[in-house]
């Protein structure tokens, strides 16, 4: 219950700071530019719109996480607003879960609004058959952002905003290459290979959430893929939040 209250408040903060409005406006501007550039795509305008549109949702979401999520807890420490919360009957872990859930809800709102706008544009251009694939891709993008938010909250709980932004960006970039890291690991000497495998297993497996190319071709994915991605996102986010809670539990608020 307390986590829900904190989540609702975090969501309210993001709405009042016009994070959602700003991101939706930026996304719509990106869609408009893509539409204007589509005649140059030699008949592949629809594919271009889907590909850039979905990439835009992921990149804008990442920007929100880096600008807001990585200072989510640090800002409360700096402004000392956290004193008013943690002096109430609230578990520190519930506080972190609430912060994560609130920012995740914000990102899901941005992703869904932009996804629906993208589907609407495709319908207007006569490419309505890609709609289900786009919605699946938006769902996976939302899961990806949920996982990266959990990492941002974890780093924010134990580090400064600048460092946690760097760590989160690092995990995001390396996570995008986690498949390739595993491939490299097989080709390197055993010691280095082991290190690469450990790194590949530590960072989130983000290619699991990327079906932009499929969606651009109008193809949907399987229910198994969607289910696996959902479970993986839930488990990875839970692990990150457990680590964050363990570090946060012993923290002194001077």
């Amino acid at each position: 219950m307390t986590a829900w209250l904190i989540a609702r408040n975090t969501f309210r903060e993001a709405m009042r700071d016009r994070v959602v409005a700003g991101m939706v406006a930026a996304g719509l501007a990106l869609f408009a530019v893509t539409l204007m550039a589509s005649p140059l795509a030699l008949g592949e305008g629809g594919r271009l719109l889907v590909d850039l549109g979905l990439s835009g949702i992921s990149v804008l979401g990442l920007l929100v996480i880096l600008l807001t999520g990585t200072s989510l807890v640090a800002k409360e420490l700096e402004r000392r607003t956290i004193y008013n919360l943690l002096s109430r009957p609230i578990r520190r872990s519930a506080y972190l879960v609430g912060k994560w859930a609130g920012l995740s809800a914000t990102l899901w709102t941005v992703a869904v609004l932009l996804g629906l706008a993208l589907c609407g544009l495709l319908l207007l251009r006569g490419g309505g058959h890609s709609g289900p694939a786009v919605l699946e891709a938006v769902y996976l993008a939302g899961l990806e952002l949920t996982v990266v938010t959990a990492l941002a909250v974890m780093f924010s709980a134990i580090s400064t905003p600048v460092l946690s932004a760097l760590y989160t960006l690092g995990f995001f970039l390396v996570g995008q290459w986690s498949y390739d890291l595993r491939l490299f690991a097989a080709k390197f000497p055993p010691e280095l290979g082991t290190v690469l495998r450990v790194v590949a297993n530590l960072v989130p497996n983000l290619p699991l959430f990327n079906m932009r190319t499929l969606a651009a071709a109008g193809e949907t994915t399987t229910a198994l893929h969607l289910g696996l991605a959902t479970v993986y996102a839930a488990v990875y986010a839970a692990c990150a939040l457990c680590l964050a809670a363990a570090a946060f539990e012993s923290k002194d608020f001077k």
Partner: protein
């Protein structure tokens, strides 16, 4: 004979183990046993003592004032009690629950020093959030939020966002947030700081009202008259150590009591030799004042003055103020440390 029981991390501990950890008396609102806090510098690992083995018991319904100069350990003590700091050694209980248990904060209202709030919320929204986080239901939280905003004099503009609040308004809002769920125990860190005389009077009134309702109040302050006016007992902290704990009356009566004898002007220009060092003479606008450092020689001095034909107007015992006692205690602590 019944075995003592104490709860640790939500589990009951009975018998010998409970005796070892020191089960608190359930009639106490606040109990600390050898509570200590060391701050460790993250780079140099140098330790600084924040609080030294504090044993403190505050009964239910009592008002205890925590006095001390900056860096004495007042805020450290209060933060340890509300769970914002983790103790290095020792234990503490609030309302019978160990402070590491969230249940200890169910009946607690806390006002931090110079409180900060979410500036995107308005007064009603903030108090609603505070009430709900302290266990009130949605409708009750809304009703209490409006009620308390009015009680602290901020009810005229309930939708004003907090970024537009002045410092005094924020302090009042913080107090309302500490009281919105009607707690059994109030812990206030410098509740009068930043307030004008009217604000101070209002806050004093609110604390007195809570005291009359039977709420236990523990607060720190630099403003000694407020402490003297409100508190049943006073604890003086110096250099992280509890140096005195007594009722205001005991502290004041415990000090040496001097006596002033006010006489008509120009009386007894030269003091007899046998009074030297014990009686001082001073001239005021329309009277002469003889001051005795203690009352042991009062009869003798008074008889001497009357024999000399001095017109005595009044004899007034001079009780030391809390401020004088506090300054004396601080000076004593400085001497102890330098020795």
């Amino acid at each position: 004979m019944q075995s003592p029981t104490v709860e640790i991390a939500g589990r009951p501990v009975i018998g010998q183990r409970a005796r070892e950890v020191g089960a608190p008396d359930p009639s106490l609102a606040v109990c600390t046993r050898r509570l200590a806090k060391d701050y460790v510098h993250p780079w140099t690992m140098r330790r600084t003592r924040g609080l030294e083995a504090l044993d403190l018991e505050v009964g239910r319904g009592e008002v205890l004032g925590l006095l001390g100069p900056n860096g004495a350990g007042k805020t450290t003590t209060l933060k340890l009690l509300v769970g914002l700091l983790k103790p290095t050694r020792g234990r503490a209980w609030l309302l019978g629950h160990p402070v590491e248990d969230t249940a200890s904060r169910r009946g607690l209202g806390f006002l931090p020093e110079q409180p900060y709030f979410y500036d995107y919320l308005n007064g009603v929204e903030y108090l609603e959030l505070a009430g709900r986080l302290s266990g009130l239901g949605g409708a009750a939280a809304h009703e209490r939020a409006r009620q308390w905003l009015g009680r602290v004099g901020l009810g005229e503009r309930p939708r004003l966002v907090l970024r537009k609040y002045s410092k005094g308004m924020l302090q009042r809002l913080g107090l309302a947030a500490a009281l919105v769920h009607e707690p059994e125990l109030l812990i206030l860190d410098e509740p009068m700081s930043g307030l004008d005389p009217f604000g101070r009077r209002d806050v004093r009134g609110l604390i007195a009202e809570q005291r009359d309702r039977g709420v236990t109040v523990l607060f720190s302050s630099h403003i000694l008259p407020d402490v003297e006016m409100l508190c049943d007992r006073v604890a003086i902290l110096l250099g992280g150590r509890l140096t005195q704990l007594a009722t205001v009356g005991e502290l004041v009566d415990g000090g040496r009591q001097s006596v002033e004898i006010r006489c008509a002007p120009g009386a007894l220009l030269e003091l007899p030799r046998q009074w030297a060092g014990e009686v001082t003479r001073s001239e005021r606008a329309d009277e002469t004042v003889f001051r005795l450092e203690d009352e042991s020689r009062l009869q003798e001095v008074l008889a001497g003055l009357l024999r000399a034909g001095v017109a005595v107007r009044a004899v007034t015992p001079q009780r030391p103020t809390l401020e004088e006692l506090f300054l004396a205690a601080a000076a004593g602590e400085r001497t102890r440390r330098s020795a």
